[in-house]
Symmetry: C2
Subunit: 410 residues, 2 copies
């Protein structure tokens, strides 16, 4: 094994991140959807580097990269993901993987630290084929039947075909060995503006918010846009627009301090310029880490829908299509990250929930799990302009590795 220094090599971290950016580059970001050629190449890139950190590499049957250590003592699982959203940023995923690799390189050859950091890159965190398929497979939550039916949400390609083209067919899927790890640590860009706007460097994640999703369907009457008088109309699209505005007017009085809600998709039926829409549908999402807040907002939403159906010319149906319990983050891990921030980042940290979902919420179902955030410039995320200052990337790596060391030392 090469004689790595016992501290973080910032230039090496930046070089690794840029090497991953060069695989599937798109402008200053990447286009690296799950099982695309650049994604598979990135998995092999990582597998080739893991031996430098004293780890035995494998790519399992669902595309997870796992690096395991033969070193005695406690094991800490560390990682994130390597695929990207379409035409998205270079750090969302790779940052956490490279931090984990760096921690393994620094710690696993350090005789003063007991045990080892083991590295994971979870496949399809971005949900091209499903929901957290890689990490859920690792904790035993994915059946073969789910893989049989999974398809790429953009291209419609069957996951079985994608796995075969990636030469992953026939490999076993690796399951978590219960009790092997003291826990899981994942670093990620914040994807928001909390750290940047307050001049802080590290977010100590307290919880990962749950996502509740609703299909809200409006039914009016399809008719001719020229011959139907305004007073005779039952315009489902207009009812939907009024509902969106009403949500935005009424939610603030009932929401929690960090609740967010989003209408991400609107469809009018039939969607032609000369036809009054007889149907309209919106996909609506609420995120919070407090189920009581969600319950209150869902009640408000259903009440608003009942009012519209009772008083207006259109009917509204609210269907909950996704519920997500918030994941709590291990308290002792939060303490370790805070202590590392004090040591390496001048204490410039803040406790905050994660508004986005991450593999850590899946790992949290089987072991203590934690996350730390680094700042996102302008809060931009899921876009190729996503970025973080190089100095902040290096500071984050130093805090991350120090937190790993503290956790292994117990």
């Amino acid at each position: 094994m090469p004689d790595y220094r016992s501290h973080v090599d910032g230039a090496r971290v930046l070089a690794d991140l840029n090497a991953l950016r060069a695989i599937g580059a798109y402008k200053t970001g990447v286009h690296k959807p799950t099982f695309s050629e650049p994604h598979i190449r990135s998995l092999h890139w990582l597998a080739q580097r893991l031996p430098e950190a004293g780890l035995t590499a494998e790519i399992d049957g669902i595309g997870n990269v796992l690096g395991t250590s033969a070193k005695q003592g406690p094991k800490l699982l560390a990682g994130s993901h390597l695929e990207s959203q379409n035409y998205a940023g270079w750090l969302d995923g790779p940052l956490g993987v490279v931090y984990a690799l760096e921690a393994a390189r620094v710690i696993n050859c350090d005789p003063n630290v007991p045990g080892a950091v083991e590295v994971a890159a979870w496949c399809d965190e971005e949900g091209h084929f499903g929901s957290f398929l890689g990490s859920r497979s690792y904790v035993g939550g994915v059946t073969e039947a789910e893989i049989d039916t999974a398809r790429d949400r953009s291209s419609g390609k069957a996951m079985r075909d994608a796995l075969r083209e990636a030469d992953l067919t026939g490999r076993p899927r690796t399951n978590c060995e219960r009790g092997r790890h003291i826990g899981y640590l994942e670093a990620h860009i914040e994807q928001g503006q909390t750290l940047e706007s307050s001049g802080l460097k590290i977010g100590v994640v307290t919880s990962i918010v749950g996502i509740w999703q609703y299909r809200i369907a409006f039914t009016g009457e399809q008719n001719h846009a020229g011959t139907t008088r305004m007073a005779d109309r039952r315009d489902a699209g207009l009812a939907l627009a009024r509902f969106c505005v009403e949500i935005d007017n009424r939610f603030p009085a009932s929401c929690g301090p960090r609740t967010v809600w989003t209408t991400g998709r609107i469809t009018l039926d039939p969607g032609a310029p000369s036809i009054i829409p007889g149907g309209a549908e919106m996909l609506f999402q609420i995120r919070d880490d407090d189920p009581d807040v969600i319950a209150r907002l869902e009640q408000l939403l259903r009440g608003m829908a009942a009012d519209v159906s009772a008083q207006d010319r259109c009917t509204v149906a609210v269907e909950c299509i996704r519920t997500g319990a918030p994941a709590l983050i291990d308290a002792s891990f939060q303490h370790a990250i805070e202590a590392a921030s004090t040591a390496c980042a001048g204490g410039k940290s803040i406790r905050m929930p994660s508004g986005a979902g991450h593999d850590a919420q899946v790992l949290a179902t089987v072991m203590p799990s934690a996350m730390l955030f680094v700042p996102s410039i302008g809060g931009i995320s899921h876009h190729w302009t996503e970025n973080t200052d190089d100095a902040d990337i290096v500071t984050g790596a130093e805090v991350y590795v120090d937190a790993c060391r503290r956790l292994l030392k117990g």
Copy 2:
């Protein structure tokens, strides 16, 4: 020529309409898009019937069916269209064609009426491939280049391919012979509730409203729906919803007595449930027969957009993508229809504008043109449940044929 009675045969009119409904039937309506097999079969059905009315039939190179008479004296052009919107009603188009056919059968063999009724079925009034392609071709307004680039709005099929499959390639397109006709008369279902709600049987059309269409585009900032706080968002979809509601709140104070406006299509970009839309677009249409009203409303619309761009977190761009001058209907033709209504429908008629576009507005550019409406049950249009009471269909035919007779007698 068979010895047809000199008056309308209501049973024959209903039988013809039902024969056309049986070609491409969908539930109680039809699915007969332009150049579909049932549409082409309907054109041939009509061409085979025209000789019964003393007319020479041709199907020209754009799919217009034209029946011409060798009879001496004035000629009145009469017709409508045979294709339908997708999965739409049985009367929208065929009613006017069968009335014209019936008028030709009744009048052309009647020695007491000078001249003849000539029958036309204009291709693609419903705009599958373009805007009034058949009637515009007839008046000389369609170039070969326009046909070269025209495509079916649903399937994307090239018009040239559709013409070839319909065996129409190589046929000349027939142009209007200036001065041949004293004018054009078209009957149609009302597609609204004015006649039904007032117990009237005939709408005497005074004008065909113009259609102005706008693409209204909102630009905000695409971001993560979980990590971006509400206060930091620039949600283009929400800006669009607010704009729709604002239009509906402010237009009534500035519109005319029969102005209508419609948002028929809304698109959010990228349209994913976990992404705050950075872009949003609506197709917005205003119809009125008074250009001054349109000008006032467009000014209001642009002012509202400027206010949003100046004050809010999103910008709005309003682009006018279609303008349509209202078509005026010949006054002496209106009188003839009213006189026929008095004679055949107990005077149960009303003067009204047409909120929908029709081939009559194209013919009006080269000859006096007029339209009459019959009631639509529930005002339903562009839907397979579209219907008119059989008795109203027969009354409409009697008024139509009587109006033709009066126009030819001068």
